[in-house]
């Protein structure tokens, strides 16, 4: 069974579907590809990380799929992504190792 997606992923996927011609499956798939490019997965991405992905990587993926005005669309998603998007439930390996090395 695949792990459930983080709230930040769900929110960004919903906005992408609403603001573009992509259907639900296409929107989520495109977002997953952008996340993979950033070394992230849908179940662990936080709100802050999702904003960076939407700003830096999603426009490239949308361009590649022939979506017009990808930059403006991504800016719109970025604005809609709430500042208070809940973080993923489990701490990431990076945060665990940061704690393990703390002096």
């Amino acid at each position: 069974m695949a792990p459930s997606c983080s709230p930040a992923f769900e929110e960004a996927a919903r906005h992408l579907e609403e603001l573009s011609d992509l259907d639900r499956l296409q929107a989520r798939g495109t977002l997953r590809i952008a996340l993979k490019e950033a070394g992230l997965a849908a179940h662990e991405v936080s709100g802050a990380e999702m904003r960076v992905v939407v700003e830096k990587l999603l426009p490239v993926e949308l361009d590649a799929r022939g979506i017009a005005e990808a930059d403006a669309l991504c800016a719109g998603i970025g604005e809609r992504l709430g500042e208070a998007t809940p973080e993923a439930e489990a701490p990431s390996p990076a945060s665990v190792f940061r704690r393990l090395r703390a002096r």
């Binding site: 070394g39 960076v52 940061r98 393990l100 090395r101």
Partner: protein
């Protein structure tokens, strides 16, 4: 002819003495490496348990216990039980049980750490962890039921090697997960989502586990050799032990020069 024979005999004697001296040197290096590895894992393990007491978090508890149980608490009883004359023959089986049980618990902690830190989402990690625990338990029960834990026959027992495989694979899983995660962290560094120092720790951890894994594999390969191990194998184990000891330290207790180097990039 007699003087020639005497010279040849003398040369042969010199060669034998040289080989013996080299063997002693390699054994001394091996013991030094083992001591350094155990010291490093003990100090870092205690430090991580102190951290766990402060943070009340389970990953630091698990990895701290893994270092202590899988290091000094596991190997010292086994070395004492295996060496001639260090403990009473009647006490040797109990020491072996204590050592192997400790190594198994240490491996279980390492399995738990990899599951909860790298595979907490989904069911795969849970299944792998449960399978590893079951394998360790079966090997212990099998060894006990077959009247094992005898230092002379232990390494010939299939139950022992079953447990050995489970303990070895704990390091293999750690290596795979941390190396894959290092690749993902490098991508994050490229888009500004992570710092180089936070990515590099996964490379260090994968190197550490690879070094320990190689020590286990060499032990398994050398198990077939009768009597003393070939000096090359002992030398390789010593080098790997020194590497692992240093890497454990740098991974979990990074020195300032290391932090300065990676935090500046």
């Amino acid at each position: 002819m007699e003087p020639v024979r005497a010279v040849e005999g003398g040369r042969r004697g010199n060669r034998d003495r040289l080989a013996q001296n080299r063997s002693i040197d390699v054994q001394a290096l091996s013991l030094t490496a083992l001591a350094f590895f155990l010291l490093s894992s003990t100090v870092v393990g205690i430090r991580l348990l102190c951290l766990a007491r402060r943070t009340r978090q389970t990953p630091e508890l698990a990895i701290g216990l893994a270092f202590l149980l899988g290091g000094v608490l596991g190997y010292v009883p086994i070395v004492l039980a295996s060496a001639e004359g260090l403990v009473a023959p009647a006490a040797a089986p109990a020491m072996l049980v204590l050592g192997i049980l400790s190594l198994d618990l240490g491996a279980a902690c390492l399995w738990w750490f990899s599951w909860r830190v790298f595979r907490s989402a989904g069911h795969l990690g849970r299944v792998v962890f449960a399978a590893a625990l079951a394998t360790l338990a079966v090997s212990l029960v099998g060894e006990a039921a077959s009247g094992g834990f005898d230092r002379a026959t232990l390494s010939h027992s299939a139950w022992y090697w079953l447990g050995f495989g489970a303990r070895t694979s704990a390091f293999a899983w750690c290596f795979v997960e941390s190396f894959l995660y290092f690749g993902r962290m490098q991508r994050r560094v490229r888009v500004g989502l992570a710092r180089e120092v936070d990515a590099h720790v996964f490379f260090l951890w994968s190197l550490t586990t690879a070094a320990v894994l190689s020590m286990f594999l060499l032990r398994a390969i050398a198990a077939g050799s009768q009597g003393t191990l070939p000096p090359l194998v002992v030398l390789a184990q010593a080098v790997l032990g020194l590497m692992a000891g240093a890497l454990i330290w740098i991974t979990f207790f990074p020195p300032r020069w290391y932090l300065r180097r990676y935090e500046s990039t």
